[in-house]
Symmetry: C2
Subunit: 146 residues, 2 copies
Amino acid sequence: MRIGELSERTGTSRRLLRYYEEQGLIVADRAPNGYRDYDDRYVDRVVQIRGLLDAGLPTRIIKQILPCLDKPRAIYFPDATPEMLATLEHELDRMTERIRCLSRNRDAVAEYLDAVRAYDPAEAEAAPDPAGATPAPDRATAVADG
Amino acid sequence: MRIGELSERTGTSRRLLRYYEEQGLIVADRAPNGYRDYDDRYVDRVVQIRGLLDAGLPTRIIKQILPCLDKPRAIYFPDATPEMLATLEHELDRMTERIRCLSRNRDAVAEYLDAVRAYDPAEAEAAPDPAGATPAPDRATAVADG
DNA sequence: TCGAACCATCACATCTATGTGAGGGTCAAA
DNA sequence: TTTGACCCTCACATAGATGTGATGGTTCGA
């Protein structure tokens, strides 16, 4: 497929797809006319890249870990230089730490939202209504037990 | 404590501490001479901010979720505007997605590293040798993809 | 009293991931 | 042949997190 289709299927601008290529995250074949030509599996690959970027990893690290993610990976073993392995171990730790931090905070936010949902404004009669008069917020309805 | 000590205890530059304040993530008391004065609990607070930043959350979102993280939080319920709750729910989803993505990739990297560690070049000598011939090649070229 | 070590604000620089637009090819359909 | 929808490269712009330096005030010990 060409860059426009990949862009649509991944929700990623053409500009960024070219940028990822420039950063060495993806490599595109070229049609005789110079157009980039992408394999189907690039859809998943790009989505994965976007997820990692969104999670805070820089392209230079993503570039390092991407080769670990291909399934038949044994062929890469001889490629692994000691520095690269050290980088990977370090990034592994950082990812674990990120996950821990995110999980902790996500749980806290979830707990907060649960508590807010269980909070009945009728019980706090004099509660001010700062944003508007709508008494029923669209999504925040009773999830907790009544 | 003053900004220098907080900087040392959190491993965060003074510049960034002022930046976080500018972004509304922290609020410092001021001594009569104008110096910022921080409570002890700011150490944890700043570390938490750094963790969230590292995990890819922008300051504007961190600012929103930080109030959810204080333990005696009931007083915030009436403060929660519907838009803020919607933002939080959305961010909750994004955090969950980030965690999922990070976990998946971390596991893949860990699996890769385990495999590399278990990989004994001596065994590869007798085994089908995919690319290189010597036990310690500089860089073997990955042959067939797929 | 002096100098070192803090602190303040302000402004400019940098890096990374992105947007946007200019100037120009390719190609298929009207 | 023209038009419109693609594609190319190149270059400049922006936003967020961060570094660095200028300029000057405060504190404290020698």
